[in-house]
Amino acid sequence: MAVSKLALVASSGKSCKILLGLRLLAFSATLSAAIVMGLNKETKTFVVGKVGNTPVKATFTAEFQHTPAFVFFVVANAMVSFHNLLMIALQIFGGKMEFTGFRLLSVAILDMLNVSLVSAAANAAAFMAEVGKNGNKHARWNKICDRFTTYCDHGAGALIAAFAGVIFMVIISAVTISRLVQPNKCCSTAASPSVAP
């Protein structure tokens, strides 16, 4: 049953397949960003001082929950990947649904909202990571990347995935908005009247 629906999607217009591929890419990018940042944790023991001759060690952990910007990053990327999953499911399993006026508009608005959301999350995490990597002399904030290198590397990977997700979401949003102007055969079985601006 699902195979026949997939075949139906595959046989429809070329822009349908391109949009589906883009959504799959955006879904995987944001999901991997959320997962990599969500599992980001590093524990290290440092020598803090000396008592007599024996060094005193203390264990420090770097987790993503310590920074509110990273928590926002994980939550926002999870939300955007869920949105993309919904849209993919709609495109595959909603073949008979007629995409008339309000439904096209709601897809376009949701895409625009999610573009803003993921771009905000990626930027907040990027600037917090910059402070963590370079420190800030004026505020006397020490950098933490020289001690927790794995944490920083994983965070950088998650950031790259999130920015790739931003780019894909921008392209998807542009395609969806252009479909408002010219509703083509993709996902619209009813003949919608052409738009006259």
Binding site: H66, S116, F127, V131, A139, N142, P193, V195, P197
Partner: protein, 164 residues
């Protein structure tokens, strides 16, 4: 008559968004405070943090763009381009506001796990001006979201109200 009120509404909205972005820009650029403690004098200005510099640049771009679009004649063909650029400006505003907010939150509350002390205790006036600039940036963002919806509605006619 209805068209005229819609056009005036769009114009007023864009003027308000321009004013808000310009206010955010000016308030952040003029925020500067010198504090001294323990014979060490530190001056806090907006260029200390990269996120604040990005906020200033993004709001400058948005202000200039809004000002230019205010003078666009109604019958011009560039209005379809304005829809795309409105989306780009909204994204710029969200990202810059979110970045500045993330860094300002660390400045206000500190980060105990990383050993970063909050700086708002030493430079309270600077912190207040940054807060004001962020609020103005947020107002500009909300106005730009409405502007984006307005541009979509007036240019694209997404409800397909005009049946051909």
């Amino acid at each position: 008559m209805v068209k005229l009120t819609k056009r005036i509404g769009g114009f007023v909205l864009r003027l308000a968004a321009f004013a808000a972005a310009l206010a955010a820009l000016i308030v952040m650029v003029t925020s500067r405070e010198r504090a001294s403690f323990f014979a060490v004098s530190l001056e806090a200005k907006y260029t200390d943090m990269a996120a604040f510099k990005y906020f200033v640049i993004a709001n400058a771009v948005v202000s200039v763009y809004s000002f230019l679009v205010l003078f666009l004649p109604h019958e011009s063909l560039l209005w379809k381009f304005v829809v795309v650029l409105d989306l780009v400006m909204t994204m710029l505003l969200t990202s810059s506001l979110s970045a500045a907010l993330a860094v300002a939150q660390v400045g206000k509350k500190g980060n105990a796990n990383a050993g970063w002390l909050p700086i708002c205790g030493q430079v309270p006036k600077f912190c207040d001006q940054i807060t004001g600039a962020l609020i103005a940036g947020f107002i500009a963002l909300v106005l730009y979201v409405f502007l984006l919806l307005y541009s979509l509605h007036s240019v694209v006619d997404p409800f397909l109200l005009q049946k051909s």
